[in-house]
């Protein structure tokens, strides 16, 4: 059962009213957060993986911050605060990223590996040995506020 599988890895979701999409092995959490429904975002580029040109091919939080800022996620907000604009949360161990969640239309959602999208979770629900903790949240101010 999909929910059993998900909750075995993320016990924080037990008892939470969340939604699950179908599985899709074409995209990962970073692609999902970036709104790309066709590519698996992971360095290095090639062999079924996409990585934007012009950025270091590593999985450091430092590099992904540059990628996110390039795509408009320029404003860092406090961990634990609810964003008022679209935002992306970076999970990891502080140095390397392990997962991303997207805040849009007032709710958090994310894609779990090559499995399901989980909609309506809280950031703390996915914290654990697989994704580590939330280490940064970057929001995307509307263009007219820039």
């Amino acid at each position: 059962m999909p929910r059993d599988d998900v909750e075995r890895d993320f016990p924080g979701l037990v008892g939470v009213n969340y939604g699950l999409s179908d599985e899709d092995f074409n995209v990962n959490c970073l692609a999902y957060a970036m709104g790309d429904s066709n590519n698996w975002w992971e360095p290095p580029k090639g062999q079924g993986q996409y990585w934007p040109d012009g950025f270091d091919e590593d999985t450091s939080v430092k590099t992904i911050e540059k990628v996110l800022k390039f795509h408009g996620y320029t404003q860092e907000i406090e961990i634990g605060a609810t964003p008022t604009e679209d935002a992306i949360a970076i999970y990891g161990d502080g140095k390397e990223w392990m997962h991303f969640a997207k805040f849009s239309n007032g709710t958090w959602s994310s894609k779990l590996g090559d499995g399901h999208d989980v909609n309506g979770h809280d950031l703390k629900h996915l914290v654990g040995h697989i994704y580590g903790g939330v280490c940064k949240i970057l929001s995307k101010p509307p263009k007219d506020k820039l």
């Binding site: 998900v6 090639g46 062999q47 590996g113 499995g115």
Partner: protein
């Protein structure tokens, strides 16, 4: 009452009684029966045992039929005994790998799982099992396939679905999978 000629006796000594020719072969549906040889007319004529060279002619025809059949059979998927032997262990390892890595966000983390390494270590005989697994449920088996097959038919800048399609076509053209 018909009497046996000398040629008859020699032929029967060499080939047995009429009908034995058929019994000497496995007549399962994948093998020719006497009906394949002009509806049995030729073999029926052999029953008369008049000419030894007719046996040779019949045998050549039967050999041609076998050759044609084996050519057709060889187009089917052939699973080696070695592959069959690996199947239970492969299934166990594949399930462990899927269960324990399905939620990881990085392929580079997925493919360093010990179960994945053990599958790659099975070598070329595991290829049909990997391809069948990819056919039955999409998963990131591509690194293992590249390593085991020493090939990469996937488009360089394609996504996972395109890579899957390319590998399945490769597997079918090499007769590893249906």
């Amino acid at each position: 009452m018909a009497t046996s000629t000398k040629t008859d006796r020699e032929v029967r000594k060499r080939w047995g009684k009429p009908g034995d020719l058929r019994r000497n072969y496995d007549c399962t549906p994948s093998h020719p029966t006497h009906k394949d040889v002009h509806g049995g007319a030729l073999l029926a004529s052999l029953h008369r045992g008049r000419h030894a060279n007719q046996y040779d002619k019949a045998l050549r025809m039967v050999a041609d039929i076998f050759r044609e059949r084996s050519r057709k059979v060889s187009k089917r998927v052939v699973i080696s005994a070695e592959t069959e032997k690996l199947c239970p262990e492969f299934n166990t390892l594949a399930n462990v790998w899927i269960q324990e890595t399905r939620h990881l966000s990085l392929i580079s983390q997925k493919i360093i799982h010990p179960a994945y390494f053990r599958i790659m270590g099975m070598g070329r005989p595991v290829l049909p099992l990997l391809l069948a697994a990819l056919r039955d449920k999409p998963a990131h088996w591509f690194a293992a396939l590249r390593a085991v097959a020493n090939a990469d038919p996937a488009p360089a800048d394609g996504n996972a679905s395109q890579a899957r399609q390319a590998w399945l076509e490769w597997g079918r053209s090499h007769r590893y999978i249906d």
